[in-house]
Symmetry: C2
Subunit: 251 residues, 2 copies
DNA sequence: TCACTATAGCTATAACCTCTAACCAAAACT
DNA sequence: AGTTTTGGTTAGAGGTTATAGCTATAGTGA
């Protein structure tokens, strides 16, 4: 007998259940795309699916449970988008690859802004993310780490390195994450720190853009993103010229 | 007769009204500090004030109106905090002043995280901010502009400058904002662009920290902030050494 | 094939919420 | 003193999440 894979349920009941769960999440995404996260209503979803109210509680324990599923799927999808961008840019220079990843991050967010806010926006104070969420977030940032590991240490970041070193040494999951995305690194700390920098810079720009905070300002966020991530690439020595050893180090 | 100042109402009814509005906002802030923005309930506020439900609608048209008042007050308070930080650091170097402002921004956010999220967090999709909000946000960033105007253009930011130039030339309020905080600038565009960069970097770091996204990561966000804003200072030529003309330009 | 059990869906209901309507009493103004 | 403005009340419409309890049916095992 083949091993029971939990992803492809075998019994008809499980299959029906899984399919209806998918439909519920689909309807939920449609609601969120329309009216934001606060427009997500268990009742309204049930109505669109032709069933009434409390029936959905057989499929998701509560609203937060449904939200968690949507967030989990979202991370999966975002990670996939970043991965394909990494594949597409595999033969380019490290600097170009980093920029391609950053733009893929932004493109994914812009294509489905409310879904991006589901992942990166302000979580409800009552909601606490399950532990797996951290792994999913790391999956999104993995390709960034894989590129940034080709950089060199950045003197100004020394204080950050010390803190990051303590972090990676104290949490095994982080070391494991490094091992999967940057197995050949002798010292992953500079790349880890650079990943944090990339994350916070991208988050700053993209979340402001998606929230509409740049409304009325004449700039293109793509320009901003290219500038910020390009500066980061320069700082860690992923310089645009072909011979990275000949560049002068820049901050 | 003295001119009627709308801030200090004269008739007893107006004074009572203003005082009760303050109490309502106070109670609202307490609720938000406890359970986040979604815990803000008109009903619950009324209960704590010893009056029942719909009475509050005589003071705020609806929930969004109250929220707007809280946000407006919040911007006021944040701007005040940044201003005092600017005063305190008035005799330091431009680089130190910029860093002092950034840390004041973060400190204000950390002292009252939910209130910060009220300003910088994901706004509800239904909520649209009144036009004054933009001015309030500019008031917060004004001291940053005043410092950054002492920098010099950053070659890599040229594409951003072009967009920012079109922005400041098309919107008079922006030019006015520049005039109040950087009246002596011959070309405000580089400082404006640097302000946007400072904003997005600070927002990225501080919002991630306040949202708890850095939970479980071993770094201190103050280190991250100092690194990022310090790098920005270096990029725009606010170098740490006393003689700014002798420094080598860095990215 | 038949009996049993697990489960998908229903309705009813509790406990919240926002916000409107209608009314009352007291304060303020003329 | 009479009139108007205004603060506060209760009642209620319409929405939400979530639980309890029931029914009918689909799947399962003997």
């Amino acid at each position: 007998m083949p091993p029971t894979t939990p992803d492809t349920p075998r019994t008809p009941r499980q299959r029906y259940r899984a399919q209806l769960q998918q439909e519920i999440k689909q309807a939920a995404l449609a609601q969120i795309a329309e009216g934001g996260i606060e427009a997500l209503s268990i009742n309204a979803i049930a109505k669109t699916l032709g069933m009434s109210g409390p029936a959905l509680y057989k499929y998701f324990r509560n609203r937060d449970d449904l939200l968690t599923a949507l967030i989990s799927d979202g991370y999966e999808d975002a990670a996939e988008a970043i991965r394909t961008a990494a594949h597409r840019a595999a033969d380019r220079s490290p600097r170009d690859r980093l920029l391609a990843l950053a733009h893929a991050y932004r493109d994914w967010a812009l294509a489905q802004p409310h879904r991006y806010l589901l992942l990166a926006g302000t979580p409800a104070a009552t909601y606490e993310a399950p532990a797996r969420t951290t792994d999913s977030a790391r999956a999104v940032m993995g390709p960034f780490l894989a590129v940034l590991v080709e950089g060199t240490p950045w003197p100004a970041a020394e204080p950050l390195y010390a803190e990051v070193r303590a972090w990676v040494e104290s949490i095994p999951a982080v070391a494991e994450w490094v091992a999967t995305h940057a197995p050949a690194a002798d010292d992953p700390v500079p790349a880890l720190a650079a990943s944090v920098l990339a994350w916070s810079r991208m988050h700053g720009i993209v979340s402001l853009e998606v929230q509409g905070s740049f409304q009325g300002m004449g700039h293109d966020s793509a320009t901003l993103l290219a500038l910020e991530i390009g500066a980061l690439a320069d700082a860690v020595g992923l310089s645009p010229d072909a011979c990275p050893e000949s560049r002068a180090r820049r901050l």
